[in-house]
């Protein structure tokens, strides 16, 4: 076993006996009252004991922004780094000790604007980390400028006549970079959020979870049109692996692909036979359908929630560890004496 891989035994190492309280730090939470971040934090703290990690093996790494305060509130190891760089800090943390369960907490500005490069590369490398991207479509900590996910034309402090930037879709970025697990959830749906966090934790590979998160100060009701309980069932669609894609309060609507390969909504029972509904396959080696689903949005379509993609690839940290093990196997463990003499030498008497 490689020397950086540590096994931990200890007083609080018995993961089975941990409770929510063990994961709550003594720091006062300082988000604005009513912020969507609270529910994500509560879900994580409640869920952690069930995920089965030893507390000391969990590391939360964040960048800068409201969401990036998250690590201070988790009683695990944590690193609140600098703007946009959480994926690369996490890369170092994970590569130095692949046994750790490493979580990256980022936002739409932190992850897609200043840190876009790192997010892209951590996904294409397929490092075994869990990235949660809190998407509130606004800059909160700097008090209300438009973000890279803000809708075109959005009026904010820095765009009083409307933003001229087109928004990025994090799911499409993740699909293009070939992240191995890609999901989306909603801050107010604790049950679904729990399912997603559990699934991404179980996945060996790079997992990106976009969470629609409401900023009640600078971008209130950003997702209200489809997350409001009254309309959620009709305006969102749960992607469930191996099942036909259906939605609606009575499960009376579905999605199928038309002759052009484009999605269309089907009224089950009204539009004729429904045996051609799209059956979701998260492990589909072809990313095309996942990409098509990622383009669906309100009001033309219900907003997809759930796992867009889940594929198997060797993880970067595993490959790095294996390459070292192979080199050591082949060449023997390095000896400094040998390295110093690894050249043509001569003796002076």
């Amino acid at each position: 076993m490689h020397d950086t891989v540590r096994t931990t035994e200890g007083t609080n190492g018995d993961a089975a006996k941990l409770t929510r309280k063990d994961f709550v730090s003594d720091q006062e939470v300082r988000w604005c009252p009513g912020c969507g971040d609270y529910s994500i934090l509560a879900t994580m703290q409640r869920l952690m004991p069930q995920l089965g990690h030893k507390k000391e093996d969990v590391v939360f790494v964040s960048g800068i922004g409201c969401s990036s305060r998250f690590p201070y509130y988790m009683n695990t190891y944590g690193f609140h780094s600098i703007h946009g760089r959480a994926p690369s800090v996490a890369t170092g943390v994970k590569l130095a000790n692949p046994n750790l369960s490493v979580w990256v907490i980022t936002g739409d500005g932190d992850g897609l604007s200043i840190g876009g490069n790192h997010l892209l590369h951590v996904m294409r490398r397929k490092l075994d980390v869990n990235i949660i991207l809190f998407n509130n479509r606004i800059y909160g900590l700097t008090k209300g400028q438009y973000s890279p996910t803000s809708e075109f034309g959005k009026k904010t402090k820095s765009s009083p006549f409307g933003a001229l930037d087109y928004p990025l879709n994090p799911i499409k970025i993740a699909i293009s970079a070939e992240a191995t697990w890609i999901g989306r959830s909603i801050d107010v749906d604790a049950k679904h959020l729990s399912e997603m966090i559990t699934a991404m934790d179980q996945h060996r590979g790079v997992a990106l979870l976009e969470v629609y998160q409401n900023c009640n100060i600078f971008n209130d009701h950003a997702f209200e049109d489809f997350v409001n309980r009254k309309v959620r069932a009709d305006r969102t669609v749960h992607l469930e692996d191996g099942k036909p894609i259906v939605f609606g309060a009575d499960n009376d609507k579905g999605i199928r692909l038309n002759a052009d390969g484009l999605p269309e909504v089907v009224d089950i029972g009204k539009d004729g036979p429904t045996d051609d509904l799209l059956v979701h396959n998260a492990a589909n080696p072809n990313a095309g359908v996942a990409f098509t689903l990622s383009e669906m949005g309100f009001p033309e379509f219900p907003v997809p929630i759930g796992v867009f993609r889940s594929i198997e690839r060797p993880t970067y940290d595993r490959l790095v560890t294996d390459q070292i093990a192979e080199a050591t196997e082949r060449q023997g463990a390095g000896q400094l004496e040998k390295l110093l003499h690894a050249a043509d030498t001569w003796t002076v008497e």
Binding site: K55, A96, H121, T328, G332, G334
Partner: protein, 627 residues
């Protein structure tokens, strides 16, 4: 000369041998002419012959500039000597120019009366035009100050390798070995090591072994048989300290040194880097040392490289990042993070010339300001700088010793001249290498992430514990926001910020207790003191030594620790009437010396992308001595 073939083909007796003490040769040609390889082989052979030597490769930034053009000229200079030498020499006494462009860009440096060896076959109309010569300099009398040797090198090479099955183009490429053969004869070098090297290098291409061997031998015999050289040179063996030696360049020394730090500390090395001239070789070397547990991470950019290294340091590895000035500029915010989180990090900067992209393949020492004061806020770090290629090894270990023992980022400053230059290096015994005291916290009882004195009292009593993820009971959070001392929680209290700012400075200042005093080369009191740092060591010390031998009151101090300074520096400065500070910048060390010690030190500054020459420094020192 041990090759019997070469011996047997010659019937003439050896021309008279002249014993010389040192020779400076510069090979220059098109970047495709193999000049670096030629220089390296000459170096290797000289080293095996027991000569002290120093080298200076000078190559263009363009990988393949148009053949025959001025920007495409590549050069390699070496000085070998029977006495201790410290620089690759000032003016070459022998210049080998493979084409008109090489001649044009290098002839000014050749000493008057020096040997100029040219390939006359390359002085074609086209090549002359490419080098902007209206008339051939070989025929217009412009080279009258030199001893010009015109040889049909291309033609000789073609003849020598005929029948080996090589194409004309391939044949011509052997001309560097023919040239090398001539030089081997001229300087009494044994061609055997190069012949063996060829056999290894081209093991799978026997025709190339054959062709280059023939070219080398043909050159050697040509040197012997033609009567152009009235004498050739032989040299005594240099008086080097007893021991086992190898040739070592600065970048390779650095890579091995960082691995040594890993071995000595028992902590795995993590190198996060993004390719950049002239630092990339450190990445190339370290990427090969996987069986030492070294993890190299070629990041997507400079910022990812440094932040990954910081993450790895948090995770308990020796976090190392390396670059050159432009890359370090990008890393600075993250280095501030390492200062705030008090994690051990080493930043290797192989300096190059100029701001922005500047002159990537040329040398300069202009990143000292960047290292010491180049970040936002009060953000002190330690800075060390090796003085020779071999010292790159020792100070790589030293950088990590300080980083780990003081939980602080440390800059390690090299430059293009050290990185690519090489010298015979006496391999140290492992037991003579410094100890690195690592204290990682494991006891959860009373643990506080920013508690002090974890590593004991004395020099490191201000350090916080290295508490590594995976250790039960030490869960804690760190980050770039100001922290309260001891408990490490986010804290905006004004007096705490004052306290933490002072503490971070005190941590750096405290390092002065953990480093040796500065050594003086010469008397500890006197008229002139020359203070230098980094790669100017060779030129400064040589110039000072020459003047000392003439009885002049001049001494030198060469600083390896630039922040903090050694404790005795202030006293030393006050012991001399005049303090001179030669630097390849506009006065950066000078600035700090004047600010800190209030001494009227004077700068000796050069910013041309080239190292100091011994002669030019000597002239300035003489003036200061009033000679």
């Amino acid at each position: 000369m041990s090759t019997t073939d070469a011996e047997s083909t010659s019937t003439r007796p050896d021309p008279a041998r002249t014993e010389v003490e040192s020779v400076t040769i510069r090979f220059c040609g098109d970047s495709g002419d193999g000049m670096q390889l030629t220089g390296e082989q000459m170096t290797y052979t000289s080293a095996l012959g027991g000569k002290d030597l120093a080298t200076f490769p000078d190559y263009p930034a363009e990988i393949r500039a148009p053949a025959g053009s001025l920007p495409g000229v590549s050069a390699f200079q070496l000085q070998f000597s029977s006495f201790d030498i410290r620089t690759p020499g000032d003016a070459p006494s022998v210049l080998v120019a493979m084409n008109p462009a090489a001649l044009k860009t290098n002839i000014e440096d050749l000493e008057e009366g020096g040997w100029l060896i040219v390939d006359e076959d390359a002085f074609t109309k086209t090549n002359l035009q490419k080098a902007s010569y209206e008339k051939s300099p070989l025929e217009d009398g412009s080279l009258a100050a030199y001893r010009v040797v015109k040889l049909p090198i291309t033609e000789l090479t073609k003849n020598a390798v005929e029948g080996t099955g090589l194409s004309t183009k391939q044949s011509v490429r052997c001309k560097n070995f023919l040239t090398l053969g001539i030089l081997y004869f001229l300087y009494d070098k044994d061609p055997e090591p190069t012949l063996q090297w060829l056999t290894k290098k081209f093991a799978s291409k026997p025709e190339l072994i054959e062709a280059n061997t023939r070219a080398l031998k043909a050159g050697y015999n040509y040197g012997r048989t033609i009567e152009l050289f009235t004498s050739h040179y032989t040299m005594k063996r240099a008086k080097l300290e007893p021991g086992t030696y190898r040739r070592l360049s600065g970048n390779e020394a650095a890579a091995i040194g960082f691995v040594a730090a890993s071995v000595l500390s028992g902590k795995p090395l993590f190198y996060g880097s993004y390719p950049i001239t002239p630092a990339s070789d450190i990445l190339h070397f370290l990427a090969r040392y996987k069986n030492y547990g070294v993890k190299t991470f070629q990041a997507e950019d400079e910022i990812a490289a440094v932040t990954a290294s910081i993450g790895a340091a948090f995770s308990g590895a020796l976090g190392l990042t390396g670059s050159s000035g432009p890359g370090v500029a990008l890393k600075q915010e993250a280095i501030g993070l390492a200062v705030m989180t008090e994690l051990p990090l080493v930043i290797a900067n192989v300096q190059r010339a100029g701001p922005s992209t500047g002159m990537p393949t040329k040398t300069e020492q202009a990143d000292l300001f960047q290292s010491i004061v180049g970040r936002n806020g009060e953000c002190p770090v330690a800075v060390v700088a090796p003085a020779t290629p071999g010292e790159c090894f020792h100070y790589a270990i030293e950088a990590f010793r300080l980083a780990v023992e003081h939980m602080i980022p440390v800059f390690w400053l090299s430059d293009g001249y050290l990185a690519n230059g090489s010298e015979p290096y006496r391999i140290p015994a492992i037991e003579d290498l410094p100890k690195i005291n690592v204290h990682t916290r494991t006891d959860p009882e009373g643990f506080k992430p920013y508690a002090r004195g974890e590593n004991g009292q004395g020099p490191d009593s201000l350090t916080r514990p290295w508490a590594i993820p995976g250790t039960p009971g030490l869960e804690h959070r760190i980050g770039g926001i100001e922290k309260s001392d001891i408990d490490g929680n986010v804290c905006y209290d004004p007096m705490n910020h004052q306290h933490m700012t002072d503490l971070r400075q005190a941590k750096v200042d405290r390092i002065a207790e953990n480093i040796p005093d500065a050594e003086v080369f010469g008397e500890e009191k006197g008229k002139v003191l020359v203070v230098g740092w980094g790669s100017t060591y060779g030129a400064i010390t040589s110039a000072v030594e020459q003047l000392q031998n003439e009885g002049k009151s001049i001494s030198a101090v060469h600083l390896r620790y630039l922040n903090p300074f050694p404790k005795n520096l202030g006293t030393l400065l006050s012991n001399f009437e005049t303090v001179l500070v030669p630097e390849l910048n506009n006065g950066q060390l000078l600035f700090f010396l004047r600010a800190k010690f209030l001494v009227p030190a004077r700068g000796v500054n050069k910013v041309q992308g080239k190292p100091f020459r011994v002669g030019e420094l000597r002239a300035v020192f003489e003036e200061a001595l009033g000679a």
